[in-house]
C-alpha cells in the first residue's frame, strides 16, 4: 500500500515533467491549403532527404505570389513518401513520381486528393524517377532499368520496355521517347554501362537504338524542332558534367559544361554548379546551332540568385524561368527555395518551399 502510493507519486511527478515539454514550438507554415478554384500556378515536387519520408508538394500561386507548402499532406492527411522526383499535370490530374516509396501518386488537379497510388506489383521493376505525359499516356522511367507506360483511364501500368541501367530523365522528340541510361549505381566500375541514351519508338513501345554519349547521362531536354540535349554527369571527379546535343540523325556533339538544364522554344537554359565550385554559371545556348546565346541569362543580384540549385524549369505559358535550390550550399536537409525570373532574366520572386525542390509541373 505504502509502496503503491509513493510509486504513484513518482510516476505522476515524472509524467508532469514531460507533459510540460510536449507543447509545440515548431516553425511551421500556415495551415491552409491552396484554394481549389485556380489556377495560374506552378507545382513543385520537393524531394526531401533520402530515407526521411519527407518528400512534399508545394503550390506557388503566380497571381498572388503565395506559396502553399505541404499541399499533399494538407489534402490527404498523410505524407507523400520518400524521395519525390518529378511531377506532370495531365488532364485533370497530377502524377507524381516518388522513387524511395516506389509509387506514382495520382492526385486530383484541383483538390490534390489522392485518386490512386500506383505501385509496381511485388517483384516487378520499380523506383520511379522521371515522369511525362504524351498522347493519352503517362511515361515513367524506373530506376530498376525500365520505362513504363501508364494508361490514364485505368491508372495502371500498361507496358514496360527494358532500358538502363539506372535510367534517369526522358524527353519526347521526333515521335521518339529518349531516356538517359546513367548506370548511376555502378560508380565502382566507372559507370561503364552508362554511356547511352535509349531511343524508344512510341508507336511500338520498343527500343530502336542506343545513342552513345559520355558517361553517366542523367538529364534530357528537347526543343520543338526535335533537337535533343543530354547532360552526362561524368564521375563527379575528373570527368565534368557535359552537355551534348543529339541531332535528328542521332549525331552527338559536345556543346558545353552544365549540371542542370531546361529548354524553352529555341533557348537552352543551363546551370553549371559542379561540386566544390565557388561560382555558378548560368549560360544559355541557341538550340539550333548549339552556340552560346548568353554568357549569363540571369540579371539579378547575389541575394536574388540560388546558392545551391537542384532543379530548373521554364513555364511553357510565359517563358518565366524557375530555379529550385537548397537553402544554402551546405544545407541539404532544410526547407529550400524556388527563384522565379522573367523571360528576360530579371528577378521576379523568391518562394520558400520544401526540402530539395527538384521537380516542376504547370
Amino acid at each position: 500500500m505504502e509502496f503503491k502510493r509513493s510509486f504513484r507519486t513518482i510516476a505522476l511527478l515524472m509524467m508532469g515533467a514531460v507533459s510540460l515539454t510536449a507543447c509545440s514550438d515548431d516553425d511551421d507554415d500556415e495551415p491552409n491549403n491552396a484554394p481549389e478554384e485556380k489556377f495560374n500556378a506552378v507545382l513543385v515536387v520537393n524531394s526531401g532527404s533520402m530515407g526521411q519520408n519527407d518528400a512534399s508538394f508545394s503550390v506557388i500561386d503566380l497571381d498572388s505570389n503565395k506559396v502553399y507548402n505541404n499541399s499533399f499532406f494538407k489534402a490527404n492527411d498523410k505524407r507523400l513518401g520518400d524521395t519525390g522526383q518529378d511531377a506532370v499535370r495531365y488532364g485533370n490530374k497530377i502524377y507524381i513520381a516518388v522513387s524511395g516509396s516506389n509509387t506514382v501518386e495520382v492526385i486530383d488537379g484541383k483538390t490534390f486528393k489522392t485518386v490512386k497510388t500506383i505501385k509496381p506489383a511485388e517483384g516487378y521493376p520499380g523506383s520511379p524517377r522521371d515522369i511525362l505525359a504524351y498522347g493519352g499516356k503517362i511515361y515513367v522511367s524506373l530506376y530498376d532499368g525500365y520505362v513504363a507506360k501508364i494508361d490514364t483511364a485505368s491508372l495502371a501500368f500498361e507496358d514496360t520496355v527494358a532500358v538502363g541501367p539506372n535510367p534517369e530523365e526522358m524527353t519526347i522528340a521526333n515521335d521518339y521517347l529518349y531516356v538517359a541510361n546513367s548506370d548511376g549505381l555502378n560508380y565502382n566500375n566507372g559507370y561503364e554501362n552508362g554511356k547511352s541514351v535509349s531511343k524508344i519508338d512510341l508507336k511500338t513501345f520498343k527500343e530502336t537504338s542506343k545513342i552513345e554519349v559520355l558517361i553517366n547521362p542523367c538529364k534530357l531536354a528537347s526543343d520543338k524542332s526535335g533537337n535533343v540535349f543530354v547532360i552526362s554527369m561524368g564521375n563527379y571527379g575528373d570527368i565534368p558534367a557535359t552537355i551534348q546535343k543529339i541531332d535528328k540523325k542521332d549525331k552527338v556533339t559536345k556543346i558545353g559544361e552544365a549540371s542542370l538544364m531546361a529548354c524553352y522554344e529555341n533557348t537552352l537554359y543551363t546551370i553549371n554548379a559542379p561540386f566544390g565550385a565557388t561560382t555558378i554559371d548560368f549560360i544559355s545556348y541557341n538550340t539550333t546551332d548549339g552556340k552560346v546565346a548568353k554568357e549569363n541569362y540571369l540579371n539579378a543580384t547575389a541575394e536574388e540568385l540560388p546558392s545551391n540549385p537542384c532543379g530548373i524549369s521554364v513555364n511553357p505559358n510565359d517563358g518565366n524561368i524557375f530555379i529550385g535550390s537548397y537553402v544554402s550550399s551546405a544545407d541539404y536537409t532544410s526547407d529550400g527555395n524556388v527563384f522565379e525570373y522573367k523571360a528576360d532574366g530579371t528577378f521576379k520572386a523568391k518562394y520558400n518551399v520544401g526540402v530539395g525542390p527538384i521537380g516542376f509541373a504547370y
Binding site: 548511376g184 544545407d331 532544410s334
Partner: protein, 660 residues
Amino acid sequence: MDKIELTSLIFLFAAPLTFGEPADSTFSTNEIEEVVVMGKEQEKTPNATTQTLQIEESERRGITSLPNAIKRMAGADIKDYGGIGGLKTISVRSLGSKHTAVTYDGIALSDCQSGQIDLGRFTLEQLSQIKLTIGEDDNILHTARHYGSASVLELQSTSPDYVDKNYNAQVKLKAGSFGLVSPFVSFDHKIGKMNWVKVSADFLRADGQYPYILTNGKLKTEEKRKHTATESGHAEINGKFQLSSRTQLSAKSYYYASDRELPGQVILNNAKENKETSQDQNFFTQLQTRTDWERTTLLFNGKFNWAACRYHDEAKQYPNGEVNFNYFQREWYGNSTLRYKANDHFSFANAFDYTFNSYNFNAYNCVYPKRHSLQDAISAKYENQWLASTATLLGSFFKNEVEIGEAAKDQKRLSPAWALAFHPFPFDLSFRASYKDIFRMATFNELYFNQVGAKNLNPERTKQYNVGSTYQYHSDKTIKSFGISVDGYYNEVKDKIVAIPRMFFWSFLNLGYVEIFGIDWMSHCEIKTSPRSALLLSAKYAFQKAVDKTDKASVVYGDQIPYTPLHSGNGSLAFENPYLNLSYNINLVGKRYCLPQNKAENRIDAYIEHGITAYKQFKFKHFDTKLRGDVLNLTDKQYEVVKWYPMPRRSYQASVEFIF
C-alpha cells in the same frame, strides 16, 4: 507512516528529477578506483565529473543491457536503431558518439572507419563495472588516449574472487520475446597464490521480428519489422599474473562475430523487405603490466586490434543486382605511463602512446589510408584534505598516409584540461569545476569515403566548462543513504564535421558551430522499510539546450541540434525483501528532431517507457541461483529513438543463472 511522508517530501524536494544509486554502489563521486590496470586503489578525495555503476546493481535498477545501463548515467544518452541487433552508441552531453572514448580494461576500443563503438556488442555478464568521466579526470594514472576525448566510458570486466575453492564457474541462460535466446558460460581457475585465468563466452540469437504501429498523418497501420535476424557471439580469455612482488601482468584476448540482417529504416508506402546484411568480426589481444615502487608507478599497455565487416545488399537497380563491400581495419597500439608521487600532496605523470591504424575496402576508390598517432600527456595533481586539483596538457601529432593519391593533411595540437574539487565542510558536500579543450580527429570515412574526398578536414574541436556539487548522507536510521549531485555545463563545438550529400556520394565539411548549455541532476535514496526490507530510489534528469550557431542567416540558426531532447530523465524504484525483489523503472525523453530544422515534419515525439523487473537469489542444492524476469516497455508504447526506426513495444525476458 513517517516513511511515506518522508519519501514524498524527498520527491517534492528533488522533483522533477532523479534519484541516483544506492550509496554503496556508485553514484558516489567520492570513491575512485584506478581501473586503468588491475589495481584497486581507493583514493579519498573529491573529484571530477566521474560516475561509476556496478553491474551487480543491474537487477535492482531494472537494467537489461549495457546501453540501458549507460542511459542511467548523468549526461549520457544512447542512440538506438532499435531491435536486438541494432547499432547502439553513446553520446555524452550532446557532443555525439565520436567524442566519447570507450575503453575495455583500460585500453581504448577503436573503430577508425566510423569513429564510434557499438555498445550492443557487450554483455553485462562479462562486466563488473562501468565508469563515465566527463571532461578532465582527477586520476592521473592513465594512457594518453584516455585524455584524448571529451569523455571516457570505461568498461571493466569481472575478475574472480577465491574464498573457499580455487575455481569459479557460472552458467546463465536468458530467453525472451522475438526469439531471443542467449546463453553465457564462464570458468576461472586460480594458479598459484596470486594468478588466475578465466575463459568466458556468450552467444545470442534472435528473430527480432516485432510488430509496430506505423503512423503516417492520421493513418495508423499495424506492421511488422522484417529482415531482423541476428546471431552474435563473443569469447574472451583473461589472465592476471603476479610477475614479482612489484609487477602484475594482465592479458586479454577477445573475439566477436556477428551475422545480422538489417531491417533498414521504414519507408512509407513501401513494405518491400530490406535485403541488407552485415557480418562483423573483431579480434583483439592486449597485454598490460603495472609496476609499483614506493613513490612511482609504471604502466605498459600494448594491443593489436583487427576488425572486418562484410556488407551485402540486393536490389534490381544495383549492377548485377547486388553490392558487396568488405571493410578491414587494423590497429597496433603501445603505451607507457609513469607516475611519481613527490609527497602526500603532489604527484606527476607522463603518458606516451603510439597508435597505428590502417583501413581498406574492396572498391575502386579505396586509397588504403593509414595513420600514425603520437600522443603525450603530462599531468600534475595536488591534493590535501579538503581540496584536489589536476591539470593535464596533451600533445598530439597525427601523420596521415595513403597508398594511392594524396593523403589527408597531418595534424598537431596541444590540449589543456584542468579540474578543481573541494569539500570544505565536515559533512559530505563537495564542489567541483573543470575545463577541457579537446578535439576529435576526422574518421577515415569522413576523410576518404569517396573520390570527392574531404582530405582538408580539420579536427572537430570541443570546449567543456563544468561546475557541480555533490551532497551525500549516510546513517543507520530509516534513511540509510541519500545523495544529490548537480552539474551545470557549457560546451561548444567548433569546426563540426557536417555530411553533405552529393548525388550518390557524401562529402564532409568543417562547418558547424554548436553551443550547448546543460544541467545534469542525479539523486538516490535508500530507505529501510523494515529490518529485512528496503526501498531504493535513483533517478536522473538532464536539460540540454544544444543549438546550432553556425550562420545567423541560416534557417536553422538557433535550432536545437538533431536527436537532442531538451528534457530527459529516468528513474528506478526497487523494493527489496526476503520474498521476491521488485524494481520498476521509467525512462522519459522529450521531443527531438531528426534533422537540423526544427519543423513538425522532423519532430520525433516525446515518450515515456516503463519497465518492471522481479528477481530472486537463493540456494538450489549447493548452487547459488538467480532468477530474473523483466517486462520491457510495460505500457506497450510505440516510440522511436532514431526516426523511422520504430522500437519494440511490450516484450519479456527471463533468465536463470547458476554459480558453482
